[in-house]
Subunit: 312 residues, 2 copies
């Protein structure tokens, strides 16, 4: 028992014994066993994190990165599950995650079925939903409103005098929310429903190139395109250049995500910025606070910001 304390809780032991234990441990190559410890203590210091995918262009990846890093800094490990954009075997997946007895669960950009929500609630574990705002949370939530972001994009483009505004959206819940906000705001401003080109995630530059082509085919006079991600917006800019369309004079292009190339594009990309570093860090911090028994805010809206550059 003293040896156990010397390793897990050195402050409860004399310096002399601690050294003795440490010497013996390193002599025999002892490595602590968290599995046994977790069994008795009922704390695993493991966080389960469910994401749609860790594909390279994913717009929420920076938040996941920051979150993971923060958890590691605070002494937790992260178990990552990719859920895909479908919902098959969601139940089973949650079951096997819960069987690991994580101390908490983080859901990122993931809509969850009612049955799954019930299962998560029944588990009694702290649940953090990250990267979205738009529902009654299961437990804790750190995110921002995708609808509001879409609405802000519409208002911004309208404010720049654009009247034939189109969108390239993705068939994925968060993108759909941005689209809904975008459409609603345009309607409120008295504009006709925008032309929308839908693409399947994960979004790529090619979607932007091809999407602009389709949009121009349907209406050669569109004067603005709001894109569901910056990578798509970059595709729209390149396609415009190929077609001799001047950005922003003839076509305003607006992105979402403020990815690290946005400022370096020509023309520099006007886009919507979300503070992913802080978002991910706050999600992890609030989770750890909850685990330490001091829950503060349960819901935190991180907001967003339109970054005005040259493209719109």
């Amino acid at each position: 028992m003293t040896a156990s304390r010397a390793i897990s809780n050195p402050s409860m032991v004399t310096e002399a014994t601690r050294l003795k234990v440490q010497a013996a441990a390193s002599k025999i190559g002892y490595v602590q066993n968290f599995v046994a410890g977790s069994l008795k203590s009922r704390r695993s210091r493991l966080i389960a994190c469910v994401v749609p995918t860790i594909a390279s262009g994913s717009v929420f990846l920076p938040a996941v990165r920051a979150m993971t890093q923060t958890f590691e800094r605070l002494g937790y490990h992260v178990m990552l599950s990719q859920r895909g954009y479908g919902v098959a075997q969601e139940q089973e997946q949650i079951e096997t995650v819960l069987a690991r007895r994580p101390d908490g669960i983080v859901l990122t950009g993931t809509f969850v079925s009612a049955a799954a929500r019930r299962k998560l609630k029944a588990s009694g574990l702290p649940v953090m939903e990250m990267w979205d705002m738009a529902r009654s949370p299961i437990d804790m939530l750190v995110g921002f409103s995708h609808e509001a972001a879409g609405g802000a994009a519409a208002a911004y483009l309208h404010g720049k005098g654009r009247r034939r505004i189109a969108m390239i959206s993705a068939t994925e819940p968060r993108s759909a929310a941005r689209e809904a906000g975008f459409v609603a705001e345009l309607q409120r401003l008295g504009l006709p429903p925008p032309r929308i080109h839908a693409v399947a995630p994960p979004t790529r530059m090619g979607h932007g190139r091809q999407g602009l082509g389709e949009l121009l085919l349907a209406d050669p006079k569109i004067d603005a395109v709001f894109c569901t991600t910056d990578m798509v917006a970059l595709g729209v800019i390149l396609e415009s250049q190929s077609r001799g369309l001047r950005v922003p004079e003839q076509l305003a292009v607006m992105g979402f995500g403020d990815m690290d190339f946005a400022a370096d594009v020509t023309p520099a990309l006007t886009t919507i910025h979300v503070d992913n570093e802080q978002l991910g860090e706050r999600a992890a911090t609030l989770m750890v606070e909850a685990l330490d028994g001091r829950r503060s805010k349960r819901v935190s809206d991180m907001g967003f910001e339109i970054i005005e550059r040259a493209s719109a």
Copy 2:
């Protein structure tokens, strides 16, 4: 015990008892406890995966994604640790990972100190190194030679008649290996040492724009640039266009990674392709085979392929 079998190993139990157990289990909301199971069985069905970072542009992320997905399909969970590009606290990090008693460890794009290698070997766990070829492996390895890739790029550009060839490289071990192979091959071909512009990872488009500027300042007559990632190459292309330099006529641009935008750039990007899907899947498959006691190949060179497009 029968209940345990009904859940973990249903084939050892009558259908009738299995149903009875399942009914009871769902009535009380029973969720299996892998922690307890792992303690006795000494199998955790957990794989620890150490990566430098999951930043969005990381060129190895598709391999990690495929690997994770394969592990999940085969019934394993993945614990992800970001190590950063530094080496601080590497020992401690490995220690806490081993304390979780994972069934195996995957190191991705990660050089490991001698002490850490010893610790990993001493653990007796199967270790998979992924995404590189160039050393005596700790245990298993699935990757390709970055030196050979760099050499192939040099030979390709030379074969296209380019003689004043530069490179934009990153201060990161794999990029350094590509650089070394690139430099060696140019020397073998009788060319002078290339001008090299070094940038800090993670690489961004801006690195390409700025890097080309620096290279042209040092030598206005360079006729080719090999870039350490496609995103950097895209920056070089955009910067060339801004400066009125024609690609590929005046400047050949070559990337690395064949990211999903490479084909959609104008001019389409000539680059080096690695089959990340298969690489990640094979790494996971070989690991699981090792865990099942049937080790086949321990080292697997996945090779690479130059994708000739318009930019070089």
